[in-house]
């Protein structure tokens, strides 16, 4: 191929190549953040030096090791109850992970199924489901959370439940849109000619074709949910003490920000790392696997 154009290779080709190289490069930063996050999630018990819940009241409010008074025994310091901040951060990753996965599994399933039904069958079914979705989208999530938290008590479960019942309309709409386009394609018609039932067409012909969209929204949503969870815990509507949720740690540390800055800073950094990891990776997945973007 190299000799095909010789030295006078048309410019367009070179341009397209260089574009591709920068666009589809690996998101090293995103991967690194994600790797750190998942490492913490998986090996929390092994790598955290102390228990996240039991503190040593003799060693309260120790600063990080590089400040005077800090020691490498508690690299990121301790809080006012003498609990190791690093250990709490490591265990906190599990809560973030569980809540985001729980939420997405919950509302992703509802959203995808409703979207598929709505898009595939169309007509009156579609109208009903979509109007219901619009109605649901108009509900303010935070008020719903207040209500649920006051009924069931604020906890991780309530959080999952609330995000779960509030998050599906987004999925339903996107999946419906994709489904509308796909169901008119020739291969769906041929599948029908082959004798596939509606269910079979939906699950073995249409669903695999929208999986990549679903993966993309999911990765990006994980970041959003981690932030939301932290927000809710910060407001006192999420997980309760002594849980080591990052948002809760922020909330607890806020009052002492003037003389124990590390209590708010490190949980904040942890949130940034996790969200950045998911968003960068999500963007990269979209760029790489979305066939519509490839030609650009």
């Amino acid at each position: 191929m190299a000799g095909l154009f010789g030295k006078n290779r048309p410019k367009g080709i070179a341009v397209r190549r260089s574009k591709k190289r920068t666009g589809a490069g690996l998101p090293y930063l995103g991967f690194a953040c994600l790797a750190l996050f998942f490492f913490a999630v998986v090996f929390a018990d092994l790598i955290s030096p102390y228990s996240p819940y039991i503190g040593d009241l003799a060693k309260t409010a120790i600063p990080p090791f590089w400040q005077s008074g800090g020691s490498l025994a508690h690299p990121l310091g301790t809080d006012l109850l003498g609990r190791d901040v690093l250990s709490r951060l490591i265990h906190g990753s599990r809560i973030s992970f569980l809540i985001s996965v729980g939420c997405i599994a919950f509302y992703g399933t509802i959203g995808v199924i409703l979207g598929l039904i709505s898009g595939f069958f169309g007509g009156r079914t579609d109208m009903l489901i979509m109007r219901f979705t619009d109605f649901w989208m108009s509900l303010p999530g935070i008020i719903v959370l207040f209500v649920l938290a006051s009924v069931y008590g604020p906890s991780a479960k309530t959080l999952i439940l609330t995000f779960g019942i509030m998050g599906w309309p987004n999925y339903a709409r996107i999946v419906r849109g994709e489904c509308l386009g796909l169901k008119e394609r020739d291969f769906v018609r041929l599948a029908r000619v082959a004798g596939c039932s509606n269910l079979r067409i939906i699950f073995s012909h249409i669903l695999p074709n929208i999986i990549n969209t679903i993966i993309i929204i999911t990765t990006i949503d994980v970041g959003t949910i981690i932030v939301l969870t932290a927000t809710m815990s910060f407001l006192g509507l999420g997980t309760q003490p002594p849980s080591c949720d990052w948002g809760l740690m922020l909330a607890e540390g806020r009052q002492y920000i003037t003389y124990a800055w590390w209590l708010v800073t490190f949980p904040g950094i942890a949130i940034v790392i996790a969200v950045l990891g998911f968003n960068l990776t999500g963007d990269w997945i979209r760029e790489t696997f979305d066939p519509k973007q490839k030609l650009r």
Binding site: G122, G123, E184, R185, D186, F187, R189, L190, A191, R192, V193, A194, G195, C196, S197, R200, S204, H205, P208, N209
Partner: protein, 333 residues
């Protein structure tokens, strides 16, 4: 089921009478198929020609009962398949017929296959749903691929459509179509998206399949050369109606309807460059609001007064040669 089929050519397999199908759009009713009659004998290959929008595909989709939803609706007529009216069948009965007794090949092979499933899976689908399995499904798929002449079918069966060329995809789709040895195969412009050498191969393949399974084939095309090559009968459709039906020889020797004559004149002849290629003036009529008389009258250079007001009756010119045109209607009113 296969041994029931006797190679008698007289037996009528499909009889369509007065079929009318419409698309109900926001602007009104589009009469895409407006009173179509024809019949197909077992083992016969029939060509259906006409320009884009003349209702060819709508006719075939009506037979499959797969008109685009929710706009498309069959308004009238009967479709007798082996003596049973397909329009009276329930959806579940149609499931049993589609892909089993009647199947279909569509125009563009690259979009007719699901890009995410293997060729083998997709060929296996019609077999799986109609439970005509003897031996392993995979083996049957390999056998079908061999029949449609895909090279090294044992390894190709696990490939994905993007690993196939256009011609091979079309072979695989034909394979899907014939997986259950159907009685009727509707091929909706099977060669349009392929280049000429592949077209010939695909047409030969269809002819072989027709001989082997005694399958009747409806070949929809706007390529008159490809019709001439494989069909025994030609039907010309114009604006939702069949204007001429003729045995293939007769059609090319003595086309009767002015539209058919126009069509045949617009085929480029290799090596002849002395004058501009003939084309029929004007556009096909808007089917939202078709002309009251003969649909072709506004474009016809032999149109008379009556052509504008009344639709011509069908006249039989010779055995199997029918035309709907006032030029041939003996007792002109």
């Amino acid at each position: 089921m296969t041994d029931e089929k006797t190679p008698s050519t007289k037996e009528v397999l499909l009889e369509v009478k007065g079929l009318r199908a419409s698309l109900f759009t926001k602007k009104g009713e589009v009469r895409a198929v407006d009173g179509v009659d024809f019949s197909i004998a077992a083992g016969e290959v029939v060509g259906l020609v006409g320009e884009s929008g003349s209702g060819k595909s709508m006719t075939s989709l009506s037979i499959m009962r797969l008109l685009p939803q929710p706009a498309g609706k069959i308004v009238g007529g009967t479709i007798l398949f082996k003596g049973e009216d397909l329009l009276c069948k329930s959806e579940s009965e149609m499931h049993r017929i589609r892909g089993n007794r009647i199947s279909m090949v569509l125009q563009d092979p690259m979009v007719s296959l699901n890009q995410l499933l293997t060729i083998g899976y997709q060929i296996g689908e019609p077999i799986k749903y109609h439970k005509r399995r003897n031996g392993s499904l995979r083996e049957m798929c390999v056998e079908i691929l061999r029949k449609v002449k895909v090279p090294s079918p044992e390894t190709r069966v696990d490939n994905y459509p993007f690993e196939f060329s256009g011609g091979m995809c079309q072979r695989a789709i034909i394979g899907m179509g014939i997986a259950n040895a159907p009685d009727l195969l509707i091929a909706d412009e099977p060669t349009t998206a392929l280049d000429v050498t592949i077209q010939a191969q695909i047409l030969n393949l269809m002819r072989e399949i027709q001989k082997e399974f005694n399958t009747s084939i409806v070949l929809i095309s706007h390529d008159l050369a490809c019709i001439a090559q494989v069909c025994s009968k030609v039907m010309v459709m114009y604006a939702g109606k069949i204007v001429e039906k003729a045995p293939v020889r007769l059609f090319y020797q003595k086309p009767a309807h002015p539209y058919s004559i126009g069509l045949l004149n617009s085929v480029p002849v290799l090596g002849k460059r002395d004058k501009r290629l003939y084309s029929i003036e004007g556009q096909p009529p808007n089917l939202l609001n078709p002309p009251p008389g003969c649909r072709f009258a506004p474009r016809c250079d032999r149109a008379e007064k009556i052509c504008q007001t009344d639709y011509p009756p069908t006249t039989t010119l010779a055995d199997g040669h029918e035309v709907s045109c006032w030029l041939y209607a003996g007792g002109k009113p």
